[in-house]
Amino acid sequence: MREVTYVEALMEAFTEEMRRDDKVFHLCGNHGPLAALIPEFGEERVRACPISEEAYVGAGIGAAGSGFRPIISPGMMTFAFTAMDQIVNQMAKIHYMFGGQAAFPLVFRASTGGGRSAAAQHSQSPHPMFMNLAGLKLIMPSTPYDAKGLMKSAIRDNNPVVFFEDQILAASPTKQEIPDEEYTVPIGVADVKRHGSDVTVIAISKMVSQALAAAEELAGQGIDVEVVDPRTLVPMDVPALRASVQKTGRVVIVDEACLTCSAAAEISALITEDPATFRALKAPPKRVCSPDVPIPYSPIMEQFCLPDKDNVIQGIREVLG
């Protein structure tokens, strides 16, 4: 076992998969940490691109359709809206539109989330937009272990996979133990990060740590919280989410996205539209999300917007009635 940070875990995934398959290469906005791959793999497989996201994201799709497996890293997702047409109309649709005749294996990774006083254009959690866009898989890992294992699965997947790395997690020095031997984490399988019986908290990405902190605090007060991390938003592990809620009868969904049409909205709908789960509910499902505002700069206001442990606790108290 070794201890690695979130970024180190991702770098291990890249190194291992680039060794395994010489079709894997990077297109990125800036080298950043990827520069460490250049000595072993060369600049040809770790390409820094001009600020033309539309062109190089599209080039990645074209290369994927021509037998390669690009990993495309424009940096923050907010910037990459400049490439949104290629994502919406090509990346998500062409495998289907072409009747499945060609695969487009690629990973599109970008950072999302707030918390660094970077204001609205550098702080957004737009994953729900991508959930509504059929044709992409979507992964948002909350831990180094999951990040590495899911990145390896994403690189091996024969489809476009969107991989959103929370910008706070990605910058975090926090380490986690991971196995020395190779492992992968399957796409589409949720993980119960904490078992509990009183209430289910479904939390996404950075929100998992807030949910666990809330659970810890409430454990001292005799409230037993189960924390479920979907890890993959498309495909969503619906049976796992429903099973937990059927067990506890209460659910709080924690999502950093703006409330309206959030992943939390979808999860809420998935829970309540299932007759068995609906019947098991002892209280209305509760969403804990950011309000519907562009994320502000000043830390005081920003912290007010982003859900934290206290918001989770308040949500739990509400569903406990």
């Binding site: 290469f25 033309s52 599209g58 074209g62 690009p70 009747g99 489809n159």
Partner: protein, 322 residues
């Protein structure tokens, strides 16, 4: 590289195939047999055929909403194309794509495209793949004059230039972008001057002259295969029919005098004249080809009509590759 008589006749046959295919497709659309819309390539045949004649089967192309010509010129089978237009399950895309999304990856045809300008980055990526493969492959992006105002044009040409990618950007300048004239929306007369912005060669050729197009493409392809990078090739041409054939055709916004000029520079008639003058063909031998093409398109339509429809729930397949 001089073209053999056999190649010249193949080029003629392909041009006639494109025209016949598109005329018949429009007829079938108006007869209610083809749903949606069809963007006819008639008048522009020399571009697709001139360029694709300079390519190998393994070379890759990306196309536009007006993609039938490129698809045929790259070697796709018109039976499966027609079946796709008819929305049948044995069309190239199993009825999921239709006219605007015909693709045949087996011949390097990476798809027609409904989004103006979107094919340029894709071809740039195909060229990157070819460069990394190291087999001397090239990629071509066909696009219109209107598309040259999209950001994707700009970013793609810059990227291809700095990486010296083996790619041809072939602009089919037919002077109109649906209802908008180039005169009103384009700041330059010749799109090829834009090559200067990316430090790469730009040429303008008569896009109704298939041999002129071939020459320019052949030179650009040679450059690309030699690792010398991309070229912007502008082909001046004209679209004879409406922007799109639809159930209820809108009026053509172009001046009638201008429309009338199109057939006066008929790429097929011009090429036929050349072939007979050079003794490569006689009027009769060309007629025979015309007849064979007509029969082949008939056959494609029969094939399409006899093809099965998809099942409704087939809509749910092909979202993800296995």
């Amino acid at each position: 590289m001089a073209l053999e008589p056999g190649q010249l006749l193949d080029m003629y046959r392909t041009m006639v195939t494109i025209r016949t295919f598109d005329r018949r497709a429009a007829d079938e659309l108006h007869a209610g047999n083809i749903p949606g819309a069809v963007h006819s390539y008639i008048g522009q045949e020399a571009v697709a055929v001139g360029v694709c004649s300079a390519l190998r089967r393994e070379d890759r192309i990306t196309s536009t909403h007006r993609g039938h010509g490129h698809t045929i010129a790259k070697g796709a089978d018109i039976k499966f194309m027609m079946a796709e237009l008819f929305g049948r399950s044995n069309g190239y895309c199993h009825g999921k794509g239709g006219s605007m999304h015909i693709a045949d990856f087996s011949v390097g045809m990476l798809g027609a495209n409904g989004i103006v300008g979107a094919g340029l980055p894709l071809a740039t990526g195909a060229a990157l793949a070819a460069q990394m493969e190291g087999g001397g492959g090239v990629a071509v992006s066909f696009f219109g004059d209107g598309a040259s105002n999209e950001g994707s044009f700009h970013g793609s040409l810059n990227l291809a230039s700095i990486w010296k990618l083996p790619v041809l950007y072939v602009c089919e300048n037919n002077r109109w972008a649906s209802g908008n004239s180039a005169a009103a929306t384009q700041s330059v007369e010749d799109i090829s001057v834009r090559a200067v912005s990316y430090n790469l060669p730009g040429v303008t050729v008569d896009g109704t002259d298939v041999l002129a197009v071939y020459e320019a493409a052949e030179q650009a392809v040679r450059r690309a295969r030699n690792g010398e990078g991309p070229t912007l090739v502008e082909c001046k041409t004209y679209r004879w029919r409406l922007h799109a054939e639809q159930r209820n055709d809108p009026p053509d916004p172009r001046p009638q005098e201008e429309i009338d000029l199109g057939p006066q520079h008929d790429p097929i008639a011009t090429f036929a004249g050349h072939l007979t003058q050079q003794g490569v063909a006689t009027e009769e031998s060309l007629k025979q080809i015309d007849g064979e093409v007509a029969a082949a398109v008939d056959e494609a339509i029969d094939f399409a009509k006899a093809s099965p429809f998809p099942k409704p729930e087939d809509a749910l397949t092909d979202v993800f590759a296995p």
